[in-house]
């Protein structure tokens, strides 16, 4: 039962972060800010949900389920390495193709 609560909390948190990511991706004004939301929020939400799934899988603890959980953790580790690299590459692509960062002109004038 405790496990279930932990799983639900982790997955729920992950979903919350993903919701925040989605809002960020939709609402932020320019590419760099959107990428900021996508890069961070996407990674953390993936990690949390995967962690929850890996824990849930340990429900019936045995060698085979432990192995599967280890595999899920491998996906997690892979995301942990690959996702920031991908974010870096995309940001770089945007920078190379001369996307201008967004400025809040009103604020600067004020």
């Amino acid at each position: 039962m405790l496990l279930n609560i932990v799983v639900i909390t982790l997955t729920g948190l992950g979903l919350f972060f993903f919701l925040a990511t989605t809002v960020g991706i939709l609402r932020f004004p320019d590419f760099y800010t959107r990428m900021h939301a996508a890069g961070k929020g996407d990674t953390i939400s993936s990690l949390l949900i995967l962690l929850g799934l890996a824990l849930y899988n340990l429900h019936h603890l045995s060698l085979s389920t432990a192995l599967v959980s280890i595999k899920i953790m491998m996906i997690l580790v892979f995301f942990f390495m690959a996702s920031p690299t991908a974010t870096h590459a995309i940001i770089d692509a945007g920078y190379e193709s001369q996307i201008e960062p967004w400025h809040n002109d009103e604020e600067e004038q004020a």
Binding site: F78, M81, A82, T85, H88, A89
Partner: protein, 337 residues
């Protein structure tokens, strides 16, 4: 199958397909097409077709998209508006699509209900495969069993198709002399990205081990020669992208690739010919137990399936590398993406 997921994914896919066709930027179209393939793979897992999903993930979402990007990289990204005198094409397309849709819709009324367990397709041949394949071949993954044993002749030619495709790409694009490349690209800008290099270098060995695991473990889980081969090829593609083509070609030269592609098909058909020589029918693996010590015909089938899968993996890996290197460099093998 999980029908609520099913409906959502199909909706997604139609939207994607529509926008893929509409987008005016070819690179954008390639990316949206990649998303389309991602969703398609999800659709198949949801319907229980895990092996198809694995293949689609490897091929559709991974390699196809990279190939599209490579092709766009060597050509143009622009879609120009159509000249007026070509307008009739649009009408032809609409009429043909309408006709096809009408005919197919007319047929779909007679289909048995979706996912009905008593439909002819689920009651005629498939029960035999489901109930007997494990006893016949000792391979729990039914798809692998049917693919590499009951219908191994199809799979032999599937391997031949991918072999032909690689040879065809090499035939069309491959150039011996570098000067004959007509299009020069401004390659001065591509600088070396340390972060990407370090991460790829760290990840590639694990990915390759994973790919080998996929090839070998195809008997018990989704996967097999084709999926593993594509993954292996994709690791080399990753190296070629994050470093450059020379680095990959130094390890897997074009000649080596061509040889490997041949070897794979040869291994597959060789196993078939071996059973032919031992007096059984072509590709009848059970006879091979006379060669393998202390195995019965059933285990011999299982072993032969593994051999066949390895052959497929070798060919597919070599061909994926070959197609990528040729497409991304315009056949010159000079500098890729």
């Amino acid at each position: 199958m999980i029908w609520s997921f099913d409906l959502l994914i199909l909706l997604f896919m139609v939207i994607c397909a529509f926008f893929v066709i509409q987008v005016k930027d070819l690179l954008g179209a390639a990316i949206v097409f990649g998303v389309y393939s991602f969703l398609m793979c999800l659709l198949w897992t949801e319907m229980g077709a895990v092996d198809v999903a694995f293949t689609e993930a490897a091929v559709g979402a991974g390699v196809s998209t990279v190939l599209f990007i490579a092709a766009v990289h060597r050509s143009s990204r622009q879609v120009k508006p159509r000249k007026r005198w070509r307008r009739p094409n649009k009408a032809v397309g609409l009429i043909a699509a309408g006709l096809l849709g009408g005919v197919l819709f007319y047929a779909s009324v007679d289909f048995p209900d979706w996912a009905d367990p008593s439909s002819p397709a689920s009651t005629h041949l498939s029960p035999y495969f489901i109930t007997e394949a494990l006893a016949d071949t000792s391979v729990p993954n039914l798809v692998t069993a049917v693919l590499a044993d009951y219908r191994s002749f199809d799979t032999l030619f599937e391997t031949a198709v991918i072999f032909v495709a690689g040879m065809a790409v090499f035939m069309i694009l491959g150039q011996k002399t570098k000067e004959s490349a007509q299009v020069g690209i401004d390659l001065t800008g591509g600088y070396e990205d340390t972060i990407i290099r370090v991460v790829s270098r760290a990840l590639v060995p694990f990915m390759q081990i994973f790919a080998l695991y996929v090839v070998g473990h195809g008997h018990h889980s989704p996967g097999g020669g084709f999926q593993g081969g594509v993954l292996l090829g994709a690791t080399f593609v990753l190296l070629a992208i994050s470093f450059d083509l020379k680095m990959v070609l130094g390890r897997m030269s074009e000649k080596k690739n061509l040889l490997l592609a041949n070897t794979g098909v040869l291994l597959y058909s060789g196993i078939g010919v071996l059973s032919l020589l031992l007096g059984a029918n072509f590709l009848d693996y059970s006879i091979l137990h006379t060669l393998l010590p202390s195995t019965g015909p059933v285990v011999a089938r299982s072993h032969a399936i593994l051999g066949v899968e390895i052959g497929v993996a070798i060919t597919v890996m070599a061909i994926i590398i070959l197609i990528y290197t040729n497409l991304s460099s315009g056949g010159t093998n000079e500098k890729g993406l």
